[in-house]
Assembly symmetry: C2
Homo-oligomer: 398 residues x 2
Amino acid sequence: MAESSRSKPLTRENVQKAHELIKQYVHLTPVLTCTTIDSVASTPRSPEALKGTQWEGQTPAKPKFRFFFKCENYQKIGAFKARGAFHALTQLSDEELARGVVTHSSGNHAQALALAARTKGITAHIVMPTISTPSKIAGTKGYGANVLFSGSTSEEREAVVVDVIKKTGAILVPPYDHPDIILGQGTMALELEQQAKDLLAMSHISVNRDQKQTLDAVIAPLGGGGMLSGVATALQGTGIRVFGAEPSFEGANDGQLGLAAGKRIPSVKTLTIADGLRTPVGEIPWIVISDKSKVKGVYSVTEEHIKAAMKLVLERMKVFVEPSAVVGLAVCMFDEDFRRIAEREGGEGGWNMGVVLSGGNTTVEAIGKLFQTSTAQAERAEGVVGKDGEKVAENVAG
Amino acid sequence: MAESSRSKPLTRENVQKAHELIKQYVHLTPVLTCTTIDSVASTPRSPEALKGTQWEGQTPAKPKFRFFFKCENYQKIGAFKARGAFHALTQLSDEELARGVVTHSSGNHAQALALAARTKGITAHIVMPTISTPSKIAGTKGYGANVLFSGSTSEEREAVVVDVIKKTGAILVPPYDHPDIILGQGTMALELEQQAKDLLAMSHISVNRDQKQTLDAVIAPLGGGGMLSGVATALQGTGIRVFGAEPSFEGANDGQLGLAAGKRIPSVKTLTIADGLRTPVGEIPWIVISDKSKVKGVYSVTEEHIKAAMKLVLERMKVFVEPSAVVGLAVCMFDEDFRRIAEREGGEGGWNMGVVLSGGNTTVEAIGKLFQTSTAQAERAEGVVGKDGEKVAENVAG
């Protein structure tokens, strides 16, 4: 792939340029709102719910949220990764494109790169572990990729990638640790900013005329960090606060822990249900994420909180998402530190809060398994939801 | 409720009037498209898949569908029933409204009537069986309804309704067997007709410029028949064909069977997973549905076909629907008689096919149960889905 040193600097202007380049290839995904979820998250948690947490005994925070959900589950391949992959290819010369591209991934990035390559009429070599599920292999092949198999350790996979590069001259396109990818992912934030503005300008949403007509903050999931650093880059200078959200299970909150320690954590081993967020933050994303002027903070949530947020989005918004997609909403609902900041800074009017729903690539069987093991907790979560089932889903057309 | 004899006749013009009356209260729900589902349903079924069916040995049909999904799962209360309930209340005099309204239902109609009554500032009495699930009772109470309990037989429920009417003078608003309800439900078809036209006018959908720029047909689920008869009434004279879809399990296809016998079937006892479609067709809907000039035909599908269609809508379109919502799509995918008609009448260009997704009121636990018992069949269904995961979801704004 284009060497990082050759890439454009990480600026809002360069995200805007990236958007011009990719918008013919990717969907302008809708921004949805949901009064039920606003109302649930704007209700203080009960003192009982805080028992056994670090907030036990504190007065529950009273933030007010009007959420704007950026639905990247409706993006091509079912996740935001299409943005970065398409942008990366626009940065290659014709000579480079002719050599083809290569990556090792069994997830959304593999499918995104395969789709982008097919669209450009070039070859994508995707290295996948032999043990990958047949449906993922078939899915990637379905986009016309040349799938190669390797052992499952990262050394084994990288050896196959090196071999492909040696034989074909293919350009490596990494999943997140590259400026071209980051600039591509950031494009979602430009859209969200404008779509929220359009929705707020519609009278039936901004009942209160004194209300701010722009976003106050955006929260996005943090795995490798391509998306969060892209969003923060896109929103620089806008005054919109940017936050990251991680699962806390088995140290998946390496971003949060790294920020506390003042040092990036280079490896993570976790089996959080938010399987898109099991990777450590990459080196280039880290530069952006550890800059307080760009990312205000990173928060983490438990597996049960992720499930409760997911149940809410599925059942009340009727939007099909994967667990990784809802960690931002879970932070808004359950992290008292975050909620206290929103209460203090949002004041009476509350916050217009952008929440990135990053993808929807899961199955009914996986959902069944997820919610079958904890019916009691799911019911408790339902209690949190409240009684008022009224729901608004608004769509913004381009 | 307003006596049927006092109600407006079932004409397209009266559906248009109903739309003017209710559009301030209900959502203009989005119409979505999905190239993956188009491609799956436009692929002939394999001769093996027809084994053991009434089509065994026949050449599989080769229809072409471009689907336009009317997403009534994004309607208020999560289902289309809000339309009819709001319309019914607009037809009552101030004196009648002051007396309040009453119905017996444990499903979407109860919540729809409760919401409409609250919006109008009047009382809704909802009679529910004592054995109703607590979440349904809480949901209905959440809309401010006065919930009354009864035994679970229809006689016991009706006795409580009669008692309420005697004591309060409340007006009965039935769930489907009334012209005002039918005219209200029909409003979705007016929107769908226009939204599909708008989408077809966008160049990237109508690649073929010679293609028809309007809908060819619409298919809607058939339970009590309020929706199907409303849709057929709304589309009279437009040239758009209207079809109904039912589950076949345990005789839930009473509409189809009744049409074959030339006589409405007044009672049904089925536990189909499409629980919104367990009721027999009502008397007034039957008049419309049995009129060939209004409804071209009613088709039915198995439980497994419903599950396969549901899996596709959830996982590929990323839209959260209940089983009853997908019977129309299931007919398009699996009923060879219907597919043969679409092939013959649609010809080379195929059909622009409106499909009503009627609601999304289910839970993650219910989905888990549904797909846990038949992993093998779900996987078979996934095989049907094909390899190409590309997906388009377009939104139509008002």
